[in-house]
Symmetry: C2
Subunit: 95 residues, 2 copies
């Protein structure tokens, strides 16, 4: 039970931090526009490295500029929390 | 019926071209490793621009080098076919 409570807590923390992401990537992690990726159930490791690639300017195309600005505002902890949230979104064990 | 046949045909063409992608991104579009993204049901527009970003070296981090090599081998038509396949994968209307 402790473990489950902690996971739910982590999920909620990530959800709060992901509010700004939802504008483009959807409240349910299914994006609202073709150019933007769905993030629902995406691999956590991939989400973390993608956000870091925006921070370090290793993703640089037109639309990447928008994500660079978003990623710059995030700490390493924010990135982990948001990545955890999206990786778990759609997982049946989550509310 | 003609439209449905054509969509199924497109799906199969993309599926054949995507065989090499499946090694890392999974036969069902759910990747086999944390650093690799799931592609199942991903937005077609995003998949196309991502592959083009690898071709034009607008994605350059460590793991991107592997994808640059893969993307270099693809024509614009290949990219569209593969993107269509993954965008439709998991869609109930597909076999």
């Amino acid at each position: 039970p402790t473990l489950i409570a902690s996971e739910t807590e982590q999920f909620e923390i990530g959800k709060q931090k992901a509010k700004v992401c939802m504008t483009c990537h959807g409240a349910d992690g299914i994006s609202t526009q073709e150019p933007y990726p769905n993030l629902r159930g995406q691999k956590m490791g991939y989400l973390i490295s993608s956000l870091k690639d925006y921070q370090t300017r290793e993703r640089t195309s037109g639309l990447a500029v928008l994500m660079q600005q978003q990623a710059d505002a995030l700490s390493d902890q924010d990135i982990r929390d948001i990545a955890y949230f999206y990786s778990q979104l759609g997982n049946e064990s989550q509310p």
